[in-house]
Amino acid sequence: MLEYDVKYLKFKTFLNTYCPHCNNSFNVKREGKELLVFKAIFKKQEIELLMSPYLDVFEMEASVPIQDGEKLSDLICPRCKTSLVTKERTCDECGSSVAKLIITAYSKLLPFFICLQHGCEWHGLTKADERIIKLKIPRQEMPAQDQKLRTHNFVEVPYGLTTELALLEAGRCLQCKNPKCVEGCPVNIDIPEFIKLICEEKFDEAAKKIKERNVLPAVCGRVCPQEDQCEQLCILGIKDKPVAIGNLERFVADFERKMDLVKIPLIRKKLNKRIAVVGSGPGGVTVAADLTLLGYAVTIFEALHEPGGVLVYGIPEFRLPKSIVHFELDYLKKLGCKIEMNMVIGNIFTVDELLQNFDAVYIGVGAGLPLFMKIPGENLCNVFSANEYLTRINLMKAYKFPEYDTPLPKGDKVTVIGGGNVAMDCARNALRTGANEVTIVYRRSRKELPARNEEIHHAEEEGIKFKLLTSPISFAGNDNNWVKGMECVRMELGEPDDSGRRRPIVIKDSNFFIESDLIVVAIGNGPNPIIFSTTPDVKLNKWGYIEVNPETMETSKEFVYAGGDIVTGSATVIQAMGAGRTAANAIHKKLSSTK
């Protein structure tokens, strides 16, 4: 049934219809209204039948009253008087005979069928034709803020899809029977189903569908690397661009929020069990939401003064507005989950102390200490870790200094070392806080840049320069100990290393100097030692991250689970959420079996 269903072709709601025999159009304008006019035989009587050319108000009107369920015995072209009824197929819904018309779509003429039973809304194309139409709709781009303008403000760069664009984009989905996209999603959102609901303009239901699997749709729609996950596996991507799943996710989440349609589900079953979650980043929030919905009493402990983890201190305002993070966390609080701020677990409570009051503990403390390059001059003034630079601007709102008290790091010529998303964020922040020239220095080539394509694209659009195959060897300072530049060497790519990326090799005597008065080191993070200093019995791997059973995310200490960057090292928001989901399921399973 689904395969003939063109409800998803809302974009083409207005039908231009023709008679397959005489090629005359059925479209007529009457009293300012577009109508399709046919002759029909009803109860052995010839009548005039009017039909709307809009698919979403698919209805018949006749010169005599017709009740729902009554069938027309024939449909005739008013010009050539030929019967339009065909024996090629019957209605998929009621089995009645159908009439065949010709419609135009993308300058093609395609056969189109309508059911002769009044009240039945079935209409269809052949499956092959439907595919042609869907493949012809190009991927819809999100409207974005002007590239010159946006480098002077912190307003979000992409505006999001409009309803029209979202409907068009959703119409592209083929509704595969074995959807590959779902496999690509770390939290297995039912992607075809939510897109189908968008096509039916049930945006709030679509949002609800996503929320069954993902508590942070507005966040994930913005920051997930969809091109490496769901969209990478989309069938449309083979010949064309994949469906913009992330943009659609963002659209429905924004719609639900803006229209105030968010409903708090009632949790009927209350379990007498308590869960402590350490860290309110994306992973912790997922664990908390899943277990709260199952009836557990969950408390999140956050070290900073604001919940959200990397979503508030790391990802910039213009990429993820903080009001959205607050909104999504509010939802969690309304579900009944407690969030305690200013709690540095390891110091104020040890994990063992938490286990005395809670049945299980989830550690999702995220990335820890920023890595430095361990080269001379790294502690000069105005050399920052990406964490400090971003935290000052995002969490402490230094870009609003002096209204906010935290001073803003300033530079005219800013250099960012590293090629990941964090490096892009730093560079774009620098541009927005008054830098004249921003350069990204990365030791491999463009192909190996670990940042998302979208981020690289945005950075380039804004005028950020890339110095690739370049690696700093020392920082130089002036008499006052302020950085004035860095000595670099050029690199070339050698054989692939363990990670499969080609290893950069120094080119001899290629030293050169880059002038810069603010340098940000964005080369990643190591694990944070605070929680382990008082919990020696959680086993760590050789890099100092927590070792877990990947099936359950349980650590070597019973009832203690962990996930996200503290297990994997720097990764993505949705991967942390995926780990959170796995842990939540495992915790529920374990606590249900132990009484």
């Binding site: 003064h305 540095v344 920023p370 400090e388 935290t391 609003k400 002096p402 008290d405 605070i530």
Partner: protein, 274 residues
Amino acid sequence: MYEIVQKQEMAKGTIIRFDINAPKIAAKIKPGQFVIVRVNETGERIPLTVADVDRFSGTITIIFQVVGKSTALMRSLNAGDFLKDVVGPLGKEAPTTKLGTIIVVGGGTGIAILHHLTKALKEAGNFIIGIIGAREKEMLILEEEMRLLCDELIVTTDDGSYGMQGFVTQPLEKYLGERHDIKEVYAIGPIIMMKNICTLTKKYNIKTMVSLNPIMIDGTGMCGGCRVTVGNKTKFCCVDGPDFDGHEVDFEELEKRNSMYLKDEKDALLFSIK
């Protein structure tokens, strides 16, 4: 929200003492550890080492000097007012074992931190010689409290208005020269003071612990703003410190890093006056 239960103005109102109701922190905090305070929604995160703890009433004592916009704002608060955020304990506990005779040296608001530490050193059974200094008599804080804890106490003022005239290094040098049973020196105060003391104790080869106060944001190791060079290695003051072996610390670098935002601090103050 954390209530200020008591406020005391010291040193002509330039140094303020708050007793803050924070029972969870009070139950856990050890000498040498610090807290981070945020006054209001637009405030910065201010690291302050705790001067005293009252486990019974669940309060912690912080003593701070009014130097910029944020501390001026803090001064304007009174008993019964609330601080938006207080997070702690942060940093490592200072080592406070029984060693024998120990000299503790404090300058300015550094005496506040020293007080909490001295208490623990005393409890551990050490013989304590205290040297505390200030610019002038009115600027001296916690003299009575220190006198109770120290077996001997020397007070110095730069202008000679009280106690000995001169810097804390002078009586320290005298002690180091006369007594040979000094096991360790603790020095807490302005960077220049700690630097001079370390130069002095290096001569006598006596281990010297200092408490550093670099620029800091989160205080949990995440930002790396507080990095200091100790023994030619970069350390994060918030998780590796704040107490370090003073003979290894690169004080010049710390001094310059700490002056990074002097201009911004002035701007902020001017902005708030307008």
